[in-house]
C-alpha cells in the first residue's frame, strides 16, 4: 500500500502514520546461535490511533517496538513514516521504557527537559514546555525531586512527561506499567487514557496484559506466543471511553481474544 494513502474506517479518512513492511529480525546469541525474533510482520498504524500490541513474554513485541523506534535495524523489511523510511532513532518518535530509565542525576525537571535541551530549544521556551508536561502528568511541586525520591508510578509519570515534552508524532510505550502494582497500574491506565484524549498522539502500546489492552486500545494486535513472533490476529475495540474493566462488552471481547490464544495472558 502506498504511503499516506487514506483508508476508509468509521466513515473517517485516516492517515497512516507508521507502517511496518514485512519486517523480520534475527538475533545472534553466543556468537553462533541464531534466534529469529520476529518474522514477516506488517502493520499500519493510523494517525491518533491507540494501538496495543498484545502478546506474552518473549514474543518479539518489544523488539518490534525497538525497530519502530529506530534502535534496532531489521534484517528484512522497513518501517516508514509519512516523511520517509526510518533509518534511526529520532525525536519524532517518543519511547517510554518498562524500566523507567530516568537519569538518576537529573531532577524531575531535568529529566523532562532533556529532549528539549538536546535539541537546543531556547531556555525560556524549554522551561515553559517542561512545566506544562510536568503538570500534565500530575507532578507539579515535584520538579526538584530526584528519581530515587519518587515511587514507581511517579517515576513512570516522569518517563511519560519526558517523552511527551519532546513533541513526538508517535508515542511508543514498552510495557510501561509492567513494574507497577495492580492498583497503581489501573490508575495509570486511566491517566494515560485522559492524557491521550487531551494531547492526541499516535500511541503504540506494548503489553502482556489483556485487561490493559482492552482498557486502552482502539485496536489490539495479538502476537503469537512463541519465537519468531508473528501477528496472529487483530481486534477492533470500538467501545467508548472511559471504559470500565467490568463492562459487559469488554468482558465479552476478553473471552473472544482468550479463546484465540492457547496461552494465558
Amino acid at each position: 500500500m502506498p504511503l499516506s494513502s487514506a483508508i476508509e474506517g468509521n466513515g473517517m479518512e485516516k492517515l497512516i502514520k507508521i507502517e511496518c513492511n514485512d519486517i523480520s529480525k534475527t538475533f545472534i546469541q553466543k556468537g553462533t546461535v541464531e534466534v529469529p525474533v520476529i518474522k514477516d510482520v506488517s502493520l499500519a498504524v493510523h494517525e491518533n490511533e491507540f494501538l496495543v500490541i498484545l502478546g506474552p513474554g518473549q514474543c518479539g513485541k518489544s523488539t518490534l517496538l525497538r525497530i519502530i523506534a529506530g534502535l534496532e535495524v531489521p534484517d528484512k523489511g522497513f518501517v516508514t513514516m509519512p516523511d520517509g523510511p526510518i533509518v534511526g532513532p529520532g525525536p519524532d518518535r517518543g519511547l517510554v521504557f518498562q524500566g523507567y530509565m530516568l537519569f538518576a542525576w537529573e531532577t524531575v525537571f531535568g529529566n523532562v527537559e532533556m529532549g528539549l535541551k538536546l535539541r537546543k530549544v531556547p531556555k525560556a521556551e524549554r522551561r515553559e514546555i517542561t512545566m506544562h508536561y510536568i503538570n500534565m502528568v500530575g507532578l507539579a511541586g515535584f520538579e526538584n525531586h530526584y528519581p530515587h525520591q519518587l515511587s514507581g508510578g511517579m517515576k513512570q509519570r516522569v518517563g511519560i512527561a519526558r517523552a511527551y515534552a519532546n513533541s513526538p508524532e508517535v508515542m511508543l510505550m514498552d510495557e510501561p506499567f509492567g513494574q507497577l502494582d495492580a492498583q497503581t497500574r489501573m490508575f495509570m491506565q486511566q491517566e494515560i487514557t485522559s492524557i491521550w484524549e487531551r494531547e492526541k498522539r499516535t500511541i503504540i502500546f506494548v503489553t502482556n496484559n489483556i485487561d490493559e489492552a482492552l482498557f486502552l486500545g482502539d485496536r489490539i494486535v495479538l502476537m503469537e506466543g512463541k519465537l519468531p513472533g508473528t501477528i496472529k490476529e487483530e481486534f477492533m475495540v470500538d467501545l467508548p471511553r472511559p471504559r470500565e474493566h467490568t463492562d459487559m462488552e469488554l468482558l465479552h471481547m476478553r473471552e473472544v481474544i482468550t479463546e484465540r490464544t492457547e496461552l494465558v495472558l
Binding site: 529506530g70 519511547l95 521504557f97 524500566g99 532533556m114 538536546l118 530526584y146 519526558r162
Partner: protein, 280 residues
C-alpha cells in the same frame, strides 16, 4: 541530636514502665557507650598490668603525650608541622595520580583503542603492592620528597583508574537509548549519561585511593623521613616510647578521617542526587 533521642526514649520508659532493664539494654546508644567504654577499660587494664611489659601505653598516657606534642617541638618541627608534612605528601601524590588516572580510566571505557593500549600494561602492574616500589623509588629518586610522593602515586593510581573505568562500563545501556530516542548524538551520550553516571564510582575510587595514600605515606616515612607522622611513629619505636607510637597512630587515623570527610563533602556537592547512606 542522637543523645536527645536517647534521652527521650529512656525518659518515657521510666514513666510508663518501672522495670525497663531490657529496654535500656537494647538501646543502641547505650550499647555504643558500652562498646567504647569496654574497649578503653580493657586497653587500660592490659597496659596497667604490663601484659606487653612496658610496650603498651595507657590511654591517659597517650592523651598526655599528644598534649605534650602540641606544645613542644619534636625533631625541629611542632606537631602541626608533622601532620602538615604528611598531609601535603598525601595531597600531592593523590592529586597527581587522580588527575591522570581518572581521565585515563574514563577514556579507556569510552574508546576501545585506548583501552587496548593501556589495559595490558595496567593488568601487568595492577597486582603489585605499592609498598613493593619503596626500594626502587629510593634508588631512583633518593630519599627526598619525590620518592615518597612517587609511592603514593603508584598506590593511588590503580583504584582511581579502575573505578573510573568501571563507572562508565557499568552504565545501564538503555540510558544511551533514551538519549538517542530524544534526539541526542554520541557526544550527548557521553556528556549526559557516561560522565554523570560514572561520578559515584569515580568518587568511590577516590575514597579508596585516599586511604591507600595514607598507608603509602606512612610506609615511606617509616623508611626515611625527617618529618611527618610516620617520623613520629618511627622515633617512638626507636626510642621505645609506646605512647609516642600510639599518638602517631591516632593522629594519622584522625588526619585520614579528615581528608576522607573533605572528599565526602566534595562528592555531595558533585552528586547531590546520590541517595545518602549514613553511618557508613
Amino acid at each position: 541530636m542522637s543523645s536527645h533521642i536517647a534521652n527521650e526514649t529512656v525518659g518515657t520508659i521510666k514513666e510508663s514502665r518501672p522495670l525497663s532493664a531490657m529496654l535500656i539494654l537494647t538501646n543502641i546508644y547505650f550499647l555504643y557507650g558500652v562498646s567504647l567504654l569496654t574497649f578503653f577499660v580493657v586497653w587500660d587494664r592490659v597496659a596497667a598490668l604490663k601484659v606487653f611489659d612496658d610496650s603498651l601505653a595507657r590511654p591517659s598516657e597517650v592523651v598526655m603525650q599528644i598534649k605534650m606534642l602540641m606544645s613542644m617541638k619534636f625533631g625541629g618541627t611542632n606537631l602541626w608541622g608533622h601532620i602538615w608534612a604528611s598531609t601535603l605528601r598525601v595531597i600531592m601524590g593523590f592529586s597527581l595520580a587522580a588527575v591522570v588516572a581518572v581521565p585515563l580510566g574514563l577514556f579507556m571505557a569510552l574508546n576501545k583503542y585506548v583501552n587496548a593500549i593501556v589495559k595490558p600494561l595496567f593488568d601487568l602492574l595492577k597486582p603489585m603492592p605499592p609498598i613493593a616500589w619503596v626500594s626502587l623509588a629510593i634508588l631512583w629518586f633518593g630519599v627526598g620528597e619525590f620518592a615518597k610522593i612517587f609511592i603514593i602515586i603508584i598506590g593511588t593510581f590503580v583504584p582511581c583508574l579502575l573505578n573510573s573505568y568501571n563507572g562508565i562500563r557499568l552504565v545501564e545501556p538503555e540510558l544511551y537509548d533514551v538519549v538517542r530516542v530524544l534526539g541526542g548524538n554520541r557526544k550527548d551520550e557521553i556528556f549526559q549519561v557516561s560522565f554523570p553516571a560514572s561520578f559515584p564510582s569515580v568518587f568511590a575510587g577516590l575514597q579508596i585511593s585516599m586511604s591507600i595514600a595514607w598507608t603509602c605515606v606512612l610506609a615511606a616515612e617509616l623508611m626515611n623521613a625527617r618529618d611527618g607522622i610516620g617520623f613520629l611513629i618511627k622515633r617512638g619505636m626507636d626510642t621505645h616510647q609506646p605512647a609516642l607510637v600510639l599518638s602517631g597512630m591516632i593522629l594519622i587515623a584522625a588526619a585520614a578521617w579528615c581528608t576522607s570527610q573533605v572528599l565526602t563533602l566534595v562528592e555531595r556537592k558533585f552528586c547531590p542526587w546520590q541517595r545518602s547512606i549514613d553511618n557508613l
